[in-house]
């Protein structure tokens, strides 16, 4: 049984991403011993970097919201991100969560040598990103899929040495049909129920 942390990011009530979240939670309910859900907009999280060290690097600070977010990261073994891809990447709200929470002492510690960051989140063995894209797969490839790379190559590197990543994407949502969207929800539920 897994311990899943779900980070949800969408500003609108009733958004399709909300249905994605519910499908993910339905899938996780059979696979997880415990689920924690963070809704960044509902929490009123501020993504702007406001607590920094003298070099200009983000630090966690003592804001209880951020301290709690960091504790959740240290607690889970499965991390699930649910968000719309905007401008080829994570929305600013979610990027701010990465900038401000995945800091030194939480996600990594400094080390000598070419790998300057030694991972601290060895407890996370599985990362899942579920994202909707307005444009087609080919347009996203042209734009470089930066968000996917931040996820698979950036975040995953701070987790367990053999952490696995799963990318569940619905491309071309702007021109999708109802059945496209429904089958994506079914896919999300099915995949998450099969974790780990």
């Amino acid at each position: 049984m897994i311990r899943a942390l779900v980070i949800y990011c969408h500003p609108l009530l009733g958004a399709y991403n909300e249905a994605v979240r519910e499908a993910a939670l339905a899938g996780l309910s059979s696979a997880a011993e415990e689920i924690r859900v963070t809704d960044l907009y509902a929490d009123g999280f501020n993504p702007e970097a406001t607590t920094l060290d003298s070099d200009g690097r983000c630090v966690l600070g003592d804001d209880p919201l951020l301290v709690g977010y960091a504790a959740d990261l240290a607690w889970c073994d499965t991390l699930v991100l649910i968000y719309p891809t905007w401008w080829a990447g994570q929305p600013a709200m979610l990027k701010g969560w990465i900038d401000r929470v995945w800091v030194e002492g939480v996600a990594w510690e400094s080390a000598e040598g070419p790998e300057k960051r030694q991972p601290l989140l060895g407890n996370i063995k599985r990362l899942v990103a579920i994202s909707t894209h307005g444009s087609s797969k080919s347009v996203n490839m042209l734009e470089g899929e930066g968000g996917k790379r931040t996820f698979t190559r950036g975040l995953a590197k701070m987790c367990h040495r053999r952490a696995r990543t799963t990318w569940l994407a619905l491309y071309g949502i702007d021109t999708s049909s109802l059945s496209d969207r429904e089958s994506f929800l079914a896919k999300v539920e099915r995949q998450l129920s099969r974790l780990p």
Partner: protein, 197 residues
């Protein structure tokens, strides 16, 4: 030409701020007019609000005077210069949020009425320039991919004209660089931007 310089570092005494000053000095020496948009300085909010998301596909997607001012500037500018620290291989949240909230339908692109596909609307932009500091070494950035640069030189670039040129200045391993190396890099940014035509 009119140049919009977007600066995204929270500390006024940061190296990014001095890079922005040098970039602006170079551009002004080249005879260009530079308007600096200091995102933290003006209190720009990073997160797109629910109200903005609801309005996104409508006739008036802009609901904030700061966003309006940036959008108005982008409509008149011929060059965009971005100065920011690369965080987590990408744009800091505040700059990502600026793209999301300012580069909306009618400003950066429009939806084609028949196909629903995105069509570019930034044909006035002749140059896109990025100046970024990186905590990682150049080889580490290559492995994870320079996603901030990709977002600007690809995702934003496709909304400009065919002839829009991109220019990139990166200083890697920035915390281990000496003062001399930092000054040399700033000097190169200033010098090369003087030549922008």
């Amino acid at each position: 030409m009119l140049v919009a310089l977007i600066l995204a570092h929270p500390q006024g005494d940061s190296y990014c701020h001095s890079l922005a000053e040098r970039a602006a000095a170079g551009l002004r020496a080249g005879g260009h007019e530079v308007v600096v948009v200091d995102l933290y300085g003006q209190g720009f909010r990073a997160a797109m609000t629910g109200e903005e998301r609801s309005a996104y596909h409508g006739d008036e997607p802009i609901c904030d005077p700061l966003v309006e001012a940036s959008a108005d500037l982008i409509g008149r500018a011929e060059a965009l210069v971005f100065v920011y620290p690369t965080w987590w291989t990408g744009l800091p949240a505040i700059l990502k949020g600026w793209l999301e909230r300012v580069m909306v339908p009618g400003v950066a692109f429009r939806f084609d009425e028949r196909s629903g596909k995105v069509r570019p609307a930034l044909s006035n932009i002749r140059h896109i320039v990025g100046v970024s500091t990186y905590e990682e070494t150049h080889s580490a950035v290559r492995i994870t991919n320079d996603n901030g640069r990709r977002t600007i030189t690809r995702a934003l670039r496709v909304n400009c004209g065919f002839r829009t040129r991109t220019h990139w200045f990166g200083i890697f391993d920035v915390f281990d660089k000496s003062d001399l190396e930092r000054r040399e890099f700033a000097g190169r940014v200033e010098r090369e931007l003087t030549e922008l035509r």
